[in-house]
């Protein structure tokens, strides 16, 4: 006999626990079942041809930048370069959708986004050349330092966007991370904070298939990375990361949503890392040529070029002009990077604290003495030990 069958218990109805109510309706937050596309679909008719041409020129320039930076590693001019070859549509779109006052939070693979935003390539590459950790003033360019510890820049983007909103400033932060980075605790905490605070942030995950050698299937059991958004109460968007027009549209919508005060969005861009993790990596140890070739047929530049030439918006001459401009950029970069950077070893002690501590002053004096001895100069005598 159950409770409901007891005499006099006819009025019993099961009710939810008293404190429970749904906080958010999950349905509108769900991503599309397949990566959203614009190129080759009816949606492309709504895209301004000027934008498509601009995206094309930037993609070609970006590809050339990646090739040049990789070449610089072989010449010993860069210590290391994590290439974004194949991911140019993500990098370019991320840069182009932001206003000047907005902030970009790049990872170490995103120097191209910083350059597309207008940063001098040499300043963007000092980290990878190895002369300075950050070669630019982040506040001047509204570009956070390139971030190496995975996903740790995401809470910074949330805090900055939150602070801007508290001050009443119309500022959006766009933070970039890879598929591997989504496994980090900071990814989770950043998304949670952003959603709770309704911070004006856009999270762009470039799912390029690999975290160095580890494929996505070993990284997550989620239906897609975009689905993770739902658990935080923000919309997730799944996009073809090699479709520059789709990337531009989806990121623009997410930025506009953040600007309206409607909170953060998680965008998963499905793309592919055509090169190894860095020049120091050997991708043949963990993936086959067939996979790479399949993605080569889905190259972001080819996809857009096909669209533009097919509609008569671009011809051989136009392509030539774009390539020439990219070549000039590469030439300039080569020239600048072939000059040795000027370094002062005494700078090592300059920016640890606002004011040097006693022990830093002692150590600086010791290094000064070493340098003077090295150069045979008549420098001041080293600070006496133990003073």
């Amino acid at each position: 006999m159950t409770v409901q069958e007891l005499p006099g218990a006819a009025a019993y109805r099961p009710t939810p626990p008293p404190a429970w109510k749904p906080l958010t309706d999950p349905a509108p937050l769900l991503p599309d079942p397949e990566p959203y596309r614009v190129l080759g679909t009816d949606a492309v008719a709504d895209v301004d041809p000027e934008l498509l041409l601009r995206l094309y020129a930037e993609l070609v320039r970006g590809r050339r930048y990646n090739a040049q930076a990789t070449a610089l590693t072989k010449q010993g001019r860069l210590a290391v370069y994590p290439s974004s070859t194949g991911q140019e549509a993500c990098e370019i779109a991320a840069a182009l959708v932001l206003e000047d006052r907005d902030w970009l939070f790049p990872s170490y693979r995103d120097t191209l986004a910083a350059v597309a935003r207008g940063l001098d390539p040499v300043e963007a590459l000092t980290l990878l050349r190895g002369d300075r950790h950050t070669g630019y003033d982040p506040r001047e360019h509204r570009i956070a330092p390139l971030c190496t510890p995975l996903a740790t820049q995401l809470p910074h983007a949330v805090g900055l966007a939150h602070a801007a909103r508290l001050k009443g400033d119309d500022v959006v932060a766009l933070a970039m991370v890879g598929d591997g980075g989504t496994s980090e605790g900071d990814f989770h905490e950043a998304l949670n904070f952003a959603a709770v605070w309704r911070a004006p942030v856009v999270f762009l995950v470039q799912n390029n298939g690999f975290a160095i050698s580890v494929p996505l299937a070993k990284q997550t059991a989620a239906p897609s990375l975009a689905h993770k958004a739902v658990g935080y109460g923000m919309p997730g968007r799944l996009v073809d990361g090699n479709d520059a027009a789709a990337m531009h549209q989806v990121l623009s919508e997410a930025v506009a949503r953040a600007r309206r005060g409607d909170g953060p969005t998680l965008v998963e861009a499905v793309t592919y890392r055509m090169e190894a993790h860095t020049n120091a990596d050997d991708a043949t140890r963990y993936r086959g040529d067939g996979e790479v070739e399949a993605w080569r047929a889905h190259d972001p530049i080819s996809l857009l070029e096909r669209e533009l030439t097919g509609r008569g918006l671009l011809d051989e001459d136009g392509i030539g002009t774009v390539r020439e401009a990219a070549e000039r950029m590469a030439e300039g970069l080569r020239e600048q990077m072939n000059a040795d950077p000027a370094l002062d070893p005494m700078d090592l002690f300059s920016h640890v604290y606002e004011e040097q501590t006693g022990q830093l002053r002692e150590q600086a004096a010791r290094l000064r003495a070493e340098l003077d001895a090295e150069h045979g100069a008549d420098g001041e005598s080293p600070a006496e030990e133990g003073r």
């Binding site: 950790h133 809470p155 983007a157 805090g159 602070a163 900071d186 949670n192 904070f193 700078d347």
Partner: protein
Amino acid sequence: MSTVAATAGERTARARPATMAQALGRALRDAMAEDPAVHVLGEDVGTLGGVFRVTDGLAKEFGDDRCTDTPLAEAGILGAAVGMAMYGLRPVVEMQFDAFAYPAFEQLISHVAKMRNRTGGAMPLPITVRVPYGGGIGGVEHHSDSSEAYYMATPGLHVVMPATVEDAYGLLRESIASDDPVVFLEPKRLYWSKADWSPEAPAPVEPIGRAVVRRPGRSATLITYGPSLPVCLEAAEAATAEGWDLEVVDLRSLVPFDDETVAASVRRTGRAVVVHESSGFGGPGGEIAARVTERCFHHLEAPVLRVAGFDIPYPPPMQERHHLPGVDRVLDAVARLQWEAES
């Protein structure tokens, strides 16, 4: 810091008993009132006023946007504070307990400590991380760690530890005003310690990095800080019965380290014992002993000794009194300072 320091006479006239927790809360309040860029964030800091009530009343006075209850995630709290500081705010973060600050370690080490340096001085982060720390309050596991050695080993951070009610106010104000990040370690067992203190007429504040002689003496120097200061002062009083006149130096900060005050004291007394709660092996005492030896070797009558917590995980509360350095252990160390050589 623009607070006008009162004269000693005014301070005495207005002073009344206050706890360290109250002085800390007053420092936060005054800093927030003075500078709209100062924001407090952490777990339970708003409505509840913090589990130690240090932030009591701040949300009510300044609103939830200035004193914010965050989601329960320390890396997220400190990471968000980094972004807020990048945009020009001056965040004061509360970590609820010493051992609960560890999830924020990566943000602290990789970003908070390094941002000034990695941006060539362009973007310093004026963040204060308040950490209730240390044992002696009967806390169960993970509530009593002495974590200062981790922090002091990281260039770019200041590490500050008040030991008196007056310093709790002054050092916290200085830490918040500093453009460098500060890990501010609040000795939990001193939260309820009382002293006559006047919040309306605070004492003049010295910049971070100055140690102070709390008790002058001629026989030997006890070098200590934070929760161990009262232990050392008590030991110094007890030592008079043995004929020892002990000097007690309160470091007030491990970074910057005040070599001058410490070395001057040891050169006067010729003997030194470092006292702290943190484990001895790899603890601050080793660094302090080395610095003293390097600077005062020819003045030393005996090796610099250390009285520290044992090299064990912090014990359960019913056993903690055996772990914490107490008066007897300090006096025992003083007795081992080779006095026989003098006779």
